[in-house]
């Protein structure tokens, strides 16, 4: 019996490979011809592609700058000052990230869109400003005509919490004595601020790189505002079932993503190598001004548009028989809510044990390649992942040999990587490969079922998108555990399963919970992949909102957006508020 216990992880690797990695490998293999060097060169010489790529890069750059402008003051105020209602402000800082990007776009459109109240006010003052417009005329202005501050601002209001988290995670690691040394130096506040910003430069760079990466591949905002960027074209091409063309279009973005991921991975390694375990910095100075700064930025970034959304949705009819917009829209989209919760729940349920097992295994592997691979998986645009999965399922269902081949080979590779010794590698690879072949073989009918009915494809797609993030979190959490504590548990002679549950799980419990919440939020609010993967018999709230923007009354869209924000934010806000207060070091 014991001799076969290794087969279980090998089989698990086979399953993971089949659904999460093999589709991407297959897409790359299928498109190898389409993405030949002459075709790539020809594509890159097209003025349209150059324009779209330029727009994408400028949009991502501007988004990053806006995110830094919003995020740095918030992070510094919350990190270096004891602000009143700090817990509430911390929760409020997370909220922008919880609001799906397309809802941000809809909200801002109510403020500064075609019929936005601010647009009208500005127009009365003779200023023509619209969230969809570039800064200049694209036909005559070669630079400003390609700069779209509206979408960039909206993306920044969604993504700036990433900068806040990146910086805030670094502040407690600052040596309090070194901060005191800066104070004692007698230099002014600005000089000291420059010193601290330099000190946190790696964290800021990490946050900025991640924002740039996400802005580059974000689809919902640019789609709703009709911004001419490359990801729009990619999505359009994939939705026309032109996988070769879609992948070809994706190549420039994937190349930029690969470079950014390498940079991010290098930054991450530098941060880890420089981190020291000295006393933790705890802010001592109380400041109401800092709280006001945070509050102002939060109001500016999402308070105003969200208020516009609330205004549009109209009042709640607590005591009136006539249904309000919320009741009307709930009656209309209740099945979509049910489907969304079911799909999200399944994704979370699958992601947590997988992240625990894979993260634990990868924690021991400190090679930069693993980190780079995980980040790269995160950086692949969701449309590409969804298109790959869709094509793997449809072609596998009709017995396309390529599907069997790529699945088996990918599974063998992943299985071989999963073992340590050469003979083990072979055995692992063979078992994983066998499992993969069995899963995708037409005779099992699994891929046909996935393709034709059920919510399997969206669940797998969302899992493929967000599992690497959960794995990365768990890997970091496992790597943080004191090796001595694990060795002591090992020496106690208890079984490995018991050790995992009684010793290791308590160490990583909070990270596991955080990973679960994050996967819930990301899966619940995901739009791009869902648009491609959902079967006609299934619905998702986000897809409904996306469609309703064009076809339904805007009051109901606004009401639905408010409900989605509440549903997305509720678990996190609850978890944050119920979190036990940190004990101050004595």
């Amino acid at each position: 019996m014991r001799a076969f216990t290794w087969m279980l992880p090998a089989a698990l690797l086979g399953v993971l490979s089949t659904f999460l990695l093999a589709p991407l490998v297959a897409l790359a293999a299928r498109s190898a011809e389409a993405a030949s060097i002459p075709r790539v060169a020809e594509m890159m010489q097209r003025a349209e592609v150059q324009d779209l790529l330029g727009n994408s890069l400028l949009l991502a750059l501007l988004t990053t700058i806006f995110s830094l402008l919003l995020g740095i003051p918030v992070a510094l105020c919350l990190g270096f000052r004891r602000v009143p209602f700090s817990r509430c402000l911390e929760v409020a800082t997370i909220v922008p990230l919880l609001i799906p990007a397309h809802i941000h776009a809809i909200s801002w459109a109510r403020v500064i869109g075609d019929r936005g109240w601010l647009t009208k006010v500005l127009l009365d003052c003779g200023i023509k400003l619209n969230v969809r417009m570039p800064l200049g005329d694209p036909a005559t202005d070669p630079l400003l005509g390609h700069v779209y501050p509206g979408p960039a601002w909206i993306l920044a209001t969604t993504l700036f919490p990433i900068v806040v988290f990146a910086i805030r995670s670094g502040i407690p690691a600052l040596d309090p004595d070194a901060l005191a040394a800066a104070q004692l130096s007698g230099r002014g506040r600005w000089a000291r601020l420059r010193l601290v910003l330099g000190w946190l430069a790696l964290r800021i760079a990490g946050g900025a790189t991640l924002v740039f990466l996400l802005a580059l591949a974000s689809y919902p905002v640019v789609s709703l505002l009709d911004t001419p960027v490359l990801i729009q074209k990619i999505f359009f091409t994939f939705s026309q079932v032109d996988q070769g063309g879609g992948l070809l279009m994706s190549l420039p973005l994937l190349a930029v993503a690969a470079v950014l991921v390498a940079a991010l991975s290098a930054i991450d390694r530098r941060i880890r190598s420089e981190s020291t375990r000295t006393a933790r910095f705890v802010p001592e100075v109380r400041s109401v001004g800092a709280a006001m700064i945070v509050l102002s930025i939060l109001t500016l970034s999402f308070g105003i548009p969200f208020a516009a959304l609330l205004r549009e949705a109209g009042p709640i009819h607590w005591f009136r028989a006539e249904p309000d917009n919320y009741q009307r829209v709930v009656a209309r989209v209740a099945p979509a809510f049910a489907d969304s919760f079911l799909i999200t729940g399944l994704v979370v349920l699958a992601a947590l044990p997988l992240a625990f097992v894979v993260g634990r295994r990868l924690a021991a592997d400190r090679r930069g390649l693993v980190e780079w691979g995980l980040l790269l998986l995160l950086a692949i645009p969701s449309a590409v992942v969804a298109a790959a999965l869709l094509s793997q399922a449809s072609e596998g269902a009709v017995g396309e040999p390529m599907v069997l081949l790529t699945s088996s080979v990918t599974a063998f590779g992943l299985g071989a990587l999963g073992a340590r010794k050469p003979r083990q590698r072979l055995a692992f690879g063979l078992v994983a490969s066998g499992v993969a072949a069995a899963l995708v073989h037409p005779s099992t009918g699994l891929l046909r079922v996935l393709q034709e009915r059920g919510c399997g494809l969206p669940v797998i797609g969302l899992l493929a998108l967000f599992l690497p993030l959960a794995v990365r979190m768990m890997r970091s959490a496992f790597a943080e555990i004191d090796p001595g504590a694990l060795e002591a548990a090992k020496l106690s002679g208890v079984s490995e399963v018991k050790r995992q549950f009684r010793i290791e799980l308590p160490f990583v419990r909070s990270t596991l919970l955080a990973a679960g919440l994050l996967v819930y939020l990301l899966a619940f609010t995901e739009l791009s992949a869902s648009l491609l993967l959902l079967r006609p018999s299934w619905q998702s709230v986000q897809v409904r909102i996306f469609n309703m923007v064009h076809y339904q009354r805007i009051e109901e869209v606004a009401a639905l957006c408010v409900l989605v924000v509440v549903a997305a934010a509720a678990p996190l806000v609850l978890a944050q508020l119920l979190r036990p207060a940190k004990r101050r070091p004595s």
Binding site: D175, D177, A178, L179, A180, A181, A182, Q183, L184, S185, G186, R187, A191, L195, G198, W199, A201, L202, S273, E274, T276, T278, A279, R584, S586
Partner: protein
């Protein structure tokens, strides 16, 4: 003599717990003061209060400037003190030169050339482009000291600067402090729990326990005549031997009638019996049984039972555990205040 640092009635409470209570301390201008004390005595808190890094009540004067009294508090950045932290507190993203350039007061005579002079004198000029992560432990210590000294502060505060380094580096740091700081006119307040370091460097030693200065004075005085039992227990090795019948330079003890200095309360007290006050003899003296014999390099520490006390003597050769040796007190023993409990 002018005061380099004067602290009067200093009290500090951290999270509602009193850490320093009505503490008084005077350090002459240009003197090297060392604060000795056990962990938790409030040594580092005292330094931080002097630097203004923790809120405190009381009066603090640095040279002629009152930096804190009942009416006004000068913020830390305007007190002009140099501080070497226990953790060294270096900025990981700045180079050696970057550290000094950040701190340098450019209005001082010499300007940026001061950095070169200081780096040269501390022997780290060739490392000026390196960051703290690329420096050895000793080099980091020098950088921390250079940062504290670059503006010629009137008061230098050293918070256990050698606590996290190995013994060979301790000697190196002590040598740097002796060469670069001591006797150069800067008033220094140095916190340590290493007695050797304290006695080697100090003009004045302050023994601190439970948030108070128990004794202050030159190192020889603190070592030779501890003011209390707690100071005696803290400074050097030795045993407090109960004595009675103190009078006219003699007292009665388990070692017989011994010469003593000072007078106990109501003729009774404790005599501080240090190893150097005992001599192992072949004939005469008081017989004791050896409990342990530990090789310390230059000599052996021989521990023996004398009544209820364990006393320590030094021997040039190994002594068998369980064997009997004879001890004779040498020189006058200091009488430490305190009644003998029943």
């Amino acid at each position: 003599m002018k005061d380099g640092l004067s602290v009067v009635g200093l009290s500090v409470s951290l999270q509602g717990r009193p850490v320093l209570t009505q503490l008084d301390l005077v350090l002459p201008l240009g003197a090297y003061g060392v604060i000795l004390g056990p962990s938790g005595a409030g040594k580092s808190t005292l330094l931080r209060a002097v630097a203004g890094l923790v809120p405190s009540q009381g009066v603090i004067r640095i040279g002629r400037t009152t930096v804190q009294d009942g009416s006004a508090i000068v913020p830390p950045e305007r007190r002009g003190v140099g501080f070497v932290f226990q953790s060294l507190a270096l900025w990981p993203h700045l180079s050696v030169r970057g550290h000094l350039e950040f701190v340098l007061d450019r209005t001082l005579p010499g300007g940026p050339a001061r950095i070169d002079t200081l780096l040269r004198s501390l022997g780290i000029q060739s490392l000026e482009r390196r960051r703290p992560g690329e420096l050895s432990g000793g080099e980091r210590q020098r950088l921390a000291l250079a940062r504290a000294l670059v503006n010629d502060p009137p008061l230098l505060l050293l918070d256990e600067p050698t606590s996290s380094v190995d013994p060979s580096l301790k000697a190196e740091v002590a040598a740097i402090l002796t060469e670069q700081v001591r006797g150069k006119g800067t008033t220094v307040l140095h916190v340590t729990h290493d007695q050797r370091e304290a006695f080697a460097l100090a003009d004045q030693v302050y023994v601190m326990t439970q948030g108070r200065i128990e004794q202050a004075g030159p190192p020889e005085q603190v070592y030779g005549a501890p003011a209390s039992r707690s100071v005696a227990k803290l400074i050097g090795s030795g045993t407090l031997l109960a004595v009675t019948g103190i009078g006219q330079g003699f007292a009665d003890s388990a070692l017989g009638r011994i010469p003593v200095l000072g007078a106990g309360t109501a003729g009774a007290g404790y005599a501080l019996l240090r190893p150097e006050n005992l001599e192992i003899v072949k004939v005469g003296g008081v017989p004791v049984v050896v409990k342990a014999c530990i090789f310390l390099g230059p000599h052996y520490a021989v521990k023996a039972q004398l009544g209820e006390a364990v006393i320590e003597a030094h021997s040039s050769s190994r002594v068998e555990v369980g064997s009997e040796i004879r001890l004779v007190p040498r020189g006058a023993l200091a009488i430490v205040e305190g009644r003998i409990s029943s």
